[in-house]
Subunit: 230 residues, 2 copies
């Protein structure tokens, strides 16, 4: 069971799960995000990786709000990656990974899967609390109390977060080794109508830094003014 957003990290995680000989089920969410184009990327990535099934679940986080990704709050832009703050940014979506993992847990339990993969990363990340190792450990513990696994002595759930200690460059290099086609992915929080990336949001800046440090060209599509200045 792989949480698949269609970005660099989840595409790499899916490739890692496949390389471990898992049959993969991919789960995406239409959660009111302004960058809906990422779902097309998720579908492309799922197809390319031969998943058994890819589901996209509609969930309404807009009615909860509180984030620049789901409410009418501007996505913060920066001149460079060094400007990313250390505090939790406005693009943090309250409890998003907890909600995503909970659906993954539900579907995993129904299909009899014990392995849930998530592409969180605690190094080149935006400072979200639900991307830290202690969060993932707490979720795994919860998963094994929340379900049949906890009561009937069945196989335990494992929450796999293989990227958690990697830099974005390491993630991209590992993905390239596994044959990930990053031209299929999408990262930008604030793409234009044609799906071109802004090049200046947290997500774009981290992606660009990753490709640069990996010594690779980012195959992503950027708006003209954004791509020339970095």
């Amino acid at each position: 069971m792989v949480l698949l957003s269609g970005g660099v990290d989840s595409a790499t995680v899916l490739a890692i799960a496949r390389s471990m000989d898992f049959d993969a089920y991919a789960l995406s969410f239409r959660y009111g995000q302004r960058h809906l184009v990422e779902l097309e990327a998720a579908a492309r990535v799922a197809r390319e990786n031969g998943v058994v099934e890819h589901r996209t679940i509609d969930i309404d986080l807009r009615c909860i709000g509180g984030s620049a990704l789901t409410a009418d709050i501007a996505v913060p832009k920066h001149g460079s990656v060094e400007e990313l703050g250390k505090s939790i940014p406005m693009t943090y979506v309250p409890a998003r990974n907890t909600i995503f993992l909970s659906y993954a847990l539900a579907w995993a339990e129904v299909i009899g899967s014990s392995d849930i993969f998530i592409g969180v990363n605690a190094l080149d990340y935006s400072g979200y609390p639900d991307c830290r190792p202690e969060y993932i450990e707490a979720y795994e513990r919860l998963a094994n109390l929340a379900t049949r696994a906890g009561v009937e002595g069945a196989e335990k759930f494992r929450i796999h977060a293989p990227l958690i200690h990697w830099s974005k460059a390491q993630i991209i290099k590992r993905g390239m080794d596994l044959g990930v086609d990053y031209s299929l992915t999408h990262s930008c929080y604030d793409p234009d109508a044609e799906g071109a990336s802004c090049g200046r949001c947290d997500s774009c800046l981290l992606r660009l830094k990753g490709f640069k440090e990996a010594g690779l060209e980012d195959p992503g599509k950027y708006k003209e003014q954004g791509s020339s200045s970095r």
Copy 2:
């Protein structure tokens, strides 16, 4: 923040939260349950208790399935409460409370609430793993790692499960002391088209047992054949 299904337990929990002088926000879910009539009960109970706001979120658990409450699986019926099994029944909805609590956590974080109330009960219950004290403790731990509470030293979340060690009769007695009008509530998993309760599903049997042991008349509406045999 009170999870409100519209049944006996959550109505009592809401009254308890109100008695502790909390301003209450109530959260219900349209999750594909066959007993949708419970949502009307939730709205009645919320209104009666003067909540600040009551939201009902649409979530699609039918697309995940795996339960008699959300898939095309018959709701098990029993002749008496003694027949309720000790194993996890078919009405268990995979990860349901985890999904519910995750939405509650999201909304609580947005409105600045640190107190989440849930009417789970580990005594007169159906054997669901996500109703046990160790589950609630694990969720509280998770909540404080998942959110701004964990990173910025803000106030910690508390998951209140005041009914967890009570019998159904104790719950009902406490609710009566607090003035809960149980005629507004709905418990049955398999009501008829008019909303009358079956009297034979797990939920009905536990409710009826509770009122009986409390020495009170159940104000709920039951189908004729069901109500006469107990």
